[in-house]
């Protein structure tokens, strides 16, 4: 008889220190050895991980009130503007925000040395961050200006809230043009000189639960070295299916997650400011999700391997920037990870932008937390829309 488990059953096994937890890499081996049914009977949880640049990240900060009080209208952290149109002492620092006066791409390709993502990294490292704020003054908030230094421990709250993280799958980026281009997918050499990809393949959270059968609102996760939660689906959550040239169904495509967690318990090294030459700056985020093996079918999906998971190949010189459809086919993560792929009979060196090495460390850490009974599974109060919801992107048209 095939196995069925509930969250409550798994959690009581975790509390008793008896839960069997494998990483998404280890479970592949186990299924190869013992088959699906046997593995499903033995394994309670499979842990996943990803560590890559994730735009659409940022943090809500509450600075506490100054004396006299100020109703902050504009605020800068290490000269990087944060959005203060929320309340008197609240602001949101976005990962891709650049410092005031950054030369950007005036001397192309720009360096983008520092930005909102680096501010978040500095806060987590307990470095002093310079705060400057201005206002117009009111009867209840008379102060018009403040300049001071803050650290993460000195402010009231800091909540990492990333509206779109953990892309289910991502493009394999190439450059068909005759000149080097600088993109958020890294520096791409002309005439398909290299190919960059950016998921952790068989370790990637949403590729291992492609129909959103376990991931939903309230799922407890590894976020930035600490504990976080899935808050909602991410923006641009289009969890369709990737198909090959012949229309064969392959794997998940464009699901995303909105995640949050207390920044104060996150750790250095798992939220890292990143600079992409010629493009901008962002935040590299470490994210890991436990998948409860509620039944054999969930295990079968969680045990997919790099040679069963594919990325679409996209040209970033013309097709992507100009939103032109183009079909360059698909390539498996096993091929991408080998270091070279073939497109139109040309051998192209590949490189990841997301760290598989760190992704493995995240899946391993999450596994340890669960084994030690420190981390219980969060049962979602609502699952996220899956492929059958038929969500797709809208175009912002010029009117």
């Amino acid at each position: 008889m095939s196995i069925e488990r509930t969250y409550a059953e798994i959690n009581s096994r975790i509390k008793a220190g008896k839960a069997v937890v494998l990483t998404a890499e280890e479970v592949i081996e186990r299924v190869r050895e013992k088959g699906l049914s046997q593995t499903a009977r033995e394994v309670d949880v499979v842990t996943t991980g990803t560590f890559g640049p994730m735009c659409s990240s940022g943090a809500f900060l509450n600075f506490g009130h100054s004396n006299p009080r100020i109703r902050i209208s504009k605020v800068w952290l290490n000269n990087v503007p944060a959005y203060a149109g929320i309340a008197a002492a609240d602001a949101y620092i976005g990962a891709t925000e650049l410092p005031e006066g950054d030369p950007c791409n005036t001397d192309y390709p720009g360096e983008f040395r520092y930005g909102g993502g680096h501010v978040i990294e500095d806060l987590v490292a307990r470095k002093t961050v310079h705060l400057k704020a201005t206002s117009y003054g009111t009867d209840c908030y008379p102060r018009r200006e403040i300049e001071t230094d803050i650290t993460l421990d000195e402010i009231n709250e800091a909540i990492l809230f990333n509206p779109r993280n953990g892309y289910q799958n991502y493009n394999c980026a190439i450059n068909l043009s005759g000149r080097t281009i600088h993109t958020y997918m890294g520096t791409l050499k002309p005439q398909m000189g290299n190919a960059h990809y950016s998921t952790s393949g068989q370790l990637s959270p949403l590729l291992k639960d492609p129909y959103f059968r376990t991931i939903g609102i309230g799922t407890r996760i590894f976020l930035g070295g600490g504990i976080g939660y899935v808050a909602w689906n991410g923006t641009q959550h289009f969890p369709g299916r990737l198909k090959d040239e012949n229309g064969n169904d392959l794997n998940g495509a464009g699901g995303t997650l909105a995640v949050l967690g207390d920044l104060k318990q996150m750790k250095t090294g798992w939220l890292v400011g990143a600079s992409f030459r010629g493009y901008g700056s962002t935040l590299t985020v470490g994210l890991g999700i436990p998948i409860p093996i509620l039944n054999e079918e969930i295990l079968a999906l969680a045990a997919k391997t790099d040679d069963e998971l594919y990325a679409p190949i996209v040209d970033y010189s013309d097709n992507y920037p100009n939103s032109k459809p183009g079909n360059l086919g698909v390539v498996s993560y096993a091929e991408l990870k080998s270091g070279k792929i073939r497109i139109n009979d040309k051998e192209i060196p590949t490189a990841p932008l997301s760290s598989y090495y760190k992704a493995r460390e995240i899946a391993g850490t999450l596994k340890q937390w669960i084994e030690k009974g420190e981390f219980l599974l969060g049962e979602p109060s609502q699952l996220l829309p899956g492929p059958q919801a038929g969500l797709s992107g809208k175009t912002l048209s010029s009117k």
């Binding site: 560590f51 030369p103 030459r277 990870k337 990841p352 760290s355 598989y356 090495y357």
Partner: protein
């Protein structure tokens, strides 16, 4: 005595000081400017050839002005605490000094193969590759 090749780096508040004039006039040094540049952050880099009896005094003067002075010889090192093993540098390294070890997917750096082309410094998103002068 052969001229010394040195790299000066200075911030924007030093940019308007007549440092070259001082080196020539006050310290009797012969100066040959090999390269001068100012980046968009208004920080300057000067590569000089410098020769003269009072060379050491001239260098002390430059340092007293808040200018960093280093010999031109340099090597590229990796800050292992910073490197995330993302792999973005791999295809840009001409000598495979930076390479991925499989199946661990750990990015390794073999200093002996490095030719100090500085490509990796430009593409590393977390600035883990550094020049040591």
């Amino acid at each position: 005595m052969a001229p010394e090749r040195i790299v000066l780096r200075y911030s924007n508040d030093t940019a308007d000081k007549p440092i070259i004039y001082k080196l020539v006039k006050d310290y009797d040094l012969i100066v040959n400017i090999l390269k001068a540049s100012i980046n968009p952050h208004k920080e300057g880099t000067l590569v000089l050839e410098l020769i003269g009896e009072r060379y050491a005094e001239g260098i002390d003067y430059l340092r007293s002005q808040g200018i960093s002075v280093h010999p031109l010889a340099q090597e590229v090192v990796r800050n292992n605490d910073k490197c995330t093993h993302c792999g973005a540098c791999i295809v840009h390294c001409p000598t495979k000094a930076l390479y991925v070890e499989r199946p661990s997917m750990e990015v390794k750096f073999n200093e002996d193969e490095c030719v100090v082309c500085l490509s990796c410094l430009k593409v590393c998103p977390v600035k883990a590759m550094e020049v040591r002068l």
